[in-house]
């Protein structure tokens, strides 16, 4: 099996699993308990908070553990909006946010907040002028992803951070797609709120983080026993949190060499596809893109049938085609780039990661031209020229 869908799910690193195991049965304490085993849990929770803080150059008290990126996005937007609505009711996001963020924004819109969705260019980069123009005296929050989860385009985060800081507006960024590919520094980039996921750095699912800059005020969205500085109640998921700690420590050490390898794969894939498959195109930015991401479109064929044909050859990929989504809508990100429906349907997303081997790239490059040719032979939209 060849796996090219690291953006959807990553395997947990064996070293991470190892580090988690004692916390299921031997060190099973609840940090709220006052006995020895409870103290042990408090200690590892503190250590984990420090490790994740170091990973993004934050302070430990700025790290809130959650159940994952979706919850972190909910806390960032809803928690911030509710606490700060006396200052204004306007929130700015982009057209290419993750679906969870889009739906949270829609929810806030139904509840009295005004949402502006800033457009992107053909490469997927935010129109900074449009962002500036969208700011009003009612704007309290800007939320733009660090890098896009589909086409991998990296945003000018420092510029957006500067702009927001100058205007006294809080800046949230969903860094899930970026966290395994970029050394993130929340101080330098003037980030106020940031979403992280454990699985996206090869940790377990069900754990995430919201970074909240010291001094920023939010309302909790999960109310209870007051854990996580009162911002996220519920007994801490210690095994999961330990897993995220180990994952962050490994990622910090190994990121540079991983990126170097992924860049070689990326270059080979892009060249191999564009040179050997006629009427194929790269979606997203040619340079400012995550090293683990390639995203193509092919004239005349539909993504789900491409995915199925590769599935038959034991290769796992992803597509922006509507036919493989729950809603039967094409990817909102590809449409926002300026693609028309039939182009969005013909897209292929390949995301690579820690456990890919050079042979994986060769195998795909050997098979793909034939698969595309076969499907084009069935298509009324493609005539060989």
């Amino acid at each position: 099996m060849i796996y090219f869908d690291y953006q959807s799910s990553k395997p947990v690193d064996p070293r991470v699993i190892e580090s988690m195991l004692p916390y299921f049965d031997k060190k099973f304490g609840n940090p709220s308990s006052l006995h020895k085993i409870g103290d042990e849990a408090t200690e590892i929770l503190d250590h984990s908070r420090q490790a994740v803080a170091k990973f993004i150059n934050a302070k430990p008290e700025e790290i809130i553990f959650t159940s994952g990126a979706t919850e972190s996005n909910n806390l960032a937007l809803i928690g911030f909006a509710l606490r700060n609505k006396h200052k204004g009711n306007h929130i700015i996001i982009s057209e290419i946010e993750h679906i969870s963020l889009h739906n949270i924004a829609k929810y806030l819109q139904k509840n009295g907040f005004e949402i502006t969705r800033v457009p992107v260019d053909f490469y997927g980069q935010i129109d900074l002028d449009a962002l500036k123009d969208s700011i009003t005296d009612k704007t309290i929050l800007v939320s733009i992803n660090y890098a896009n989860n589909e086409v991998g385009t990296i945003q000018e985060i420092a510029e957006i951070g500067n702009l927001c800081r100058e205007r006294g507006i809080a800046f949230h960024t969903d860094a899930v797609a970026a966290e395994s590919q970029i050394h993130i520094n929340v101080e330098d980039n003037k980030i106020d709120l940031m979403t992280l996921s454990s699985n996206d750095i090869y940790g377990p699912k069900g754990v995430g983080v919201l970074y909240i800059k010291k001094g920023l005020r939010l309302n909790p969205i999960i109310i209870g026993g007051g854990q996580e500085f009162g911002l996220r109640s519920g007994t801490e998921n210690i095994p999961g949190i330990v897993g995220m700690k180990t994952a962050a420590e490994i990622m910090e050490k190994e990121m540079d060499s991983e990126i170097a390898t992924l860049k070689v794969y990326q270059k080979k894939l892009i060249q191999g596809v564009l040179d050997n498959i006629p009427d194929s195109y790269l979606n997203g930015h040619p340079e400012k893109r995550l090293a683990n991401n390639v995203h193509f479109r092919f004239d005349g064929i539909e993504g789900e049938s491409l995915l199925l044909a590769l599935k038959d050859k034991d290769i796992s990929v992803s597509t922006g085609s509507a036919c493989s989504s729950k809603t039967l809508e094409p990817s909102h990100t590809l449409i926002a780039l300026g693609l028309v429906h039939e182009e969005a349907h013909g897209s292929l997303q390949l995301t690579m990661g820690r456990f890919n081997k050079p042979e994986d790239i060769d195998t795909l490059l050997n098979l793909l031209p034939g698969v595309v040719k076969k499907l084009r032979g069935l298509s009324p939209l493609y005539k060989e020229s």
Binding site: D121, F122, A322, C323, H341
Partner: protein
């Protein structure tokens, strides 16, 4: 059930589609149906002799179930009389394939409709006339976006560098302009109200070679945006569907 969880029979027809291709000749009729929301387009060609479908072929742009249903209906209809073939329903096709995922029953089960369209085409033979060339409606928002994305002439092409450009079909000059601008921008879309079959073949080749995207049978209804053009509302005349396309500039 996942939208891509298919029966073995569906997968078999997807892997080894039967009767792929087109037919040509006086005695051939064609039906074309499509659903742009789901991204499926299907063509079925039938050759009828003495009221019997003696040959049938298909072409499909679509997902796994779109390909499998088209393949299946060609098997079901071959050798049948027009009246028998007309009775084949969407349900029959799905049943013969041992079922389809529920979400695909409506949108990717077009084969019966395509066959019916081909039969309709067979009955109407001799009474057809191509639709007249359509005239453009007035586009809403042209005045509002003057100097903010609407161009009638281009003094400095560099100002369009890397912009997403929409060019309206105004004949040869607009075709050349589209090809030139494509060198400055990764995204140039040429919009014409004409059907693909009626569009000048030389222009088509030129635009294709320059990698300009062509949208046939489309007209522009409205320009949308805050301070400058962000989206255009377009009308797909073939499907009679209105949708929005993200763009930065339009050249009239």
């Amino acid at each position: 059930m996942k939208s891509t969880t298919y029966s073995e029979k569906v997968l078999d027809h997807f892997r080894n589609p039967r009767n792929v291709g087109t037919l040509e000749g006086e005695d051939v009729s064609m039906g074309r149906v499509g659903n742009p929301v789901c991204g499926d387009l299907m063509e079925i060609y039938i050759r009828v002799k003495d009221n019997i479908i003696t040959d049938i072929k298909f072409k499909t742009f679509g997902c796994g179930s779109a390909i499998a249903t088209a393949s299946m209906i060609t098997e079901l209809a071959k050798g049948k009389s027009i009246e028998e073939a007309e009775k084949i329903t969407r349900g029959d096709v799905a049943d013969e394939l041992d079922g389809l995922p529920p979400i695909k029953m409506h949108c990717s089960n077009l084969a019966a409709d395509a066959l019916k369209a081909a039969i309709k085409n067979y009955r109407e033979k001799g009474h057809q006339s191509e639709k007249e060339k359509r005239t453009l409606q007035k586009i809403i928002g042209i005045e509002r976006f003057q100097d903010a994305g609407v161009y009638t002439k281009i003094n400095d092409p560099q100002q369009l560098k890397d912009k997403r450009i929409i060019i309206l079909d105004k004949g040869e000059e607009s075709v050349s302009r589209a090809c030139l601008l494509r060198e400055l921008s990764p995204r140039v879309v040429f919009i014409t109200p004409n059907k693909e079959s009626l569009f000048n073949e030389e222009f088509k080749q030129k635009l294709h070679k320059a990698r300009v995207k062509i949208l046939y049978e489309t007209e522009i209804l409205e320009l949308l945006g805050r301070k400058k053009i962000e989206k255009i509302k377009v009308h797909d005349l073939n499907e009679d569907e209105v949708y929005e396309l993200f763009a930065d500039a339009i050249i009239l």
